[in-house]
């Protein structure tokens, strides 16, 4: 890297459209799995609170899934999903998101105080209405804390996807490394950080709107 500056601003200026495309690509690859994970975690979490025996084995399975190295999982899935398709990266990311979101959903649903539950029943709420009006809103702070963890780690994991051919901003790292040209790498790191920051801020805002009573930060396990 003799004499090459860390950032060539000119390159960034010339490639704004290209960087924007990669950023959008990255957002889709990393955030759609989180949404799918949420859509799966809610019914699964409900099942686990209704049938508590289900929870331990499921939690154990997802604990193992969470520990699997992302690059290895991307690679193992290639025979099924094909090289350089979005699914190769999005499928494991969905599993990671689910692994984070399932325990937080269950914690959130269990956090409803028993007197509150009984009060709702006494007011004549059936199980479904109680779920929609009392239990789910109470779980929102937990869910949002889990979503923040899941979304931010998904955004950073998705960049490894570039090694198996797809990965939005991760491609900048490969490109910069192969050409011994640090500017794209720096740009990639900054953009991944920005995407994570913006996503996190949006989720925080959503929590404020959906659960204004939960002023205090809800701790999440991982």
């Amino acid at each position: 890297m003799d004499g090459e500056p860390l950032v060539r601003w000119g390159w960034i200026g010339d490639h704004l459209g290209y960087l924007w495309g990669l950023l959008r690509d990255h957002a889709v690859i990393s955030l759609v799995p989180v949404l799918i994970g949420l859509a799966l975690a809610l019914p699964l979490g409900l099942l686990c609170t209704r049938f508590p025996r289900l929870y331990q084995p499921l939690a154990a399975v997802f604990n193992v899934v969470y520990a699997l190295p992302s690059l290895a999982v991307f690679v193992v899935l290639i025979p099924y999903t094909g090289l350089a398709t979005r699914e190769t990266v999005m499928l494991p990311l969905t599993c990671y998101a689910l692994a984070v979101l399932l325990p937080t959903t269950v914690d959130g649903l269990r956090a409803v105080p028993e007197p509150v539950r009984q009060a709702a029943t006494a007011l004549g709420y059936g199980p479904w209405r109680r779920l929609a009006a009392v239990e789910l809103p109470s779980a929102v702070p937990y869910l949002m804390a889990g979503l923040r963890v899941a979304a931010v780690s998904s955004i950073s994991l998705a960049s490894v996807g570039a090694l198996v051919g797809r990965g939005g901003l991760g491609y900048l790292f490969i490109d910069g490394f192969q050409r011994t040209f640090p500017t794209p790498i720096v740009a990639g790191i900054v953009l991944v950080g920005l995407l994570a920051l913006v996503t996190d801020a949006v989720l925080l805002l959503a929590r404020r709107l959906l659960a204004p009573w939960a002023v205090r930060e809800t701790a999440v396990r991982r």
Binding site: L71, V76, V160, F173, P182, G188
Partner: protein, 221 residues
């Protein structure tokens, strides 16, 4: 061709038994790199975390730091570090430490902060100095949290050390990256499987430590 024949092709290859590309050698490279990163992160983060947890200062900063660390794209840091510092273990250690240190910092900090306040008061009340309270009450109390943090950090570092191969270092990632580059799928798959096994083994090791190595009074759950 199926997974089984791919894997048996990989594991029966004579290159996997001896020499620099053998499984034993790659596994030991991987473990040494991960161990160095984890050790360095531990030395840097744990004392600071204990101190911050005990004084109760900078809690917001610690939380913000973990969030930021979670967003760091390791592949980007690794490639940048190599371009800036040249190929070598040091270049790869930086991102790995950056990955593990915040996890340990938070574990130490939260562990100490979670000490039963009555217990701390009682310890102060019977005349222990702050230093003694920290070492004799808070640190033992924080051990399970610390062990949990160490487990998370270890698994993350082992998983991420795979990426080190991309910039030309050894370890199990070598199989994955070389296999991808030469379209040698058995090798890629075999390497990926070994990384998975190593990560799962680490999880099991820490589960066992949690069960058997902690003093009886500290085991929770």
């Amino acid at each position: 061709m199926n997974w089984f024949s791919w894997l048996s092709a990989f594991f029966t290859d004579p290159d996997r038994l001896h020499g620099p590309d053998s499984i034993v050698h790659r596994v030991s490279e991987h473990l040494i790199l991960s161990g160095e990163a984890l050790g360095l992160a531990f030395v840097l983060a744990v004392p600071l975390g204990l101190l911050l947890g005990y004084t109760g200062r900078a809690a917001a900063l610690v939380t913000a730091l973990t969030g930021a660390a979670r967003a760091l794209p390791t592949l980007g840091l690794v490639t940048l570090a190599v371009l800036v510092a040249g190929v070598g273990n040091t270049a790869v250690l930086v991102p790995l430490v950056a990955l593990a240190a915040p996890v340990l910092l938070v574990a130490a900090c939260e562990g100490v902060r979670g000490t039963d306040p009555d217990l701390r008061d009682a310890a102060r009340g019977i005349g222990l100095t702050h230093r003694q309270v920290l070492w004799q009450v808070c640190v033992p109390w924080a051990l399970p949290a610390l062990l949990a943090g160490l487990r998370t950090a270890a698994v993350q570092v082992i998983a991420t050390a795979t990426v080190a191969a991309y910039v030309g270092l050894g370890g199990l990632g070598r199989y994955v990256v070389d296999g991808l580059a030469t379209k040698d799928f058995p090798q890629t798959l075999g390497g990926a499987l070994l990384v998975v096994l190593l990560a799962v083994a680490t999880q099991l090791l820490f589960a066992a430590l949690n069960r058997f190595a902690l003093p009886a009074g500290l085991r929770r759950r």
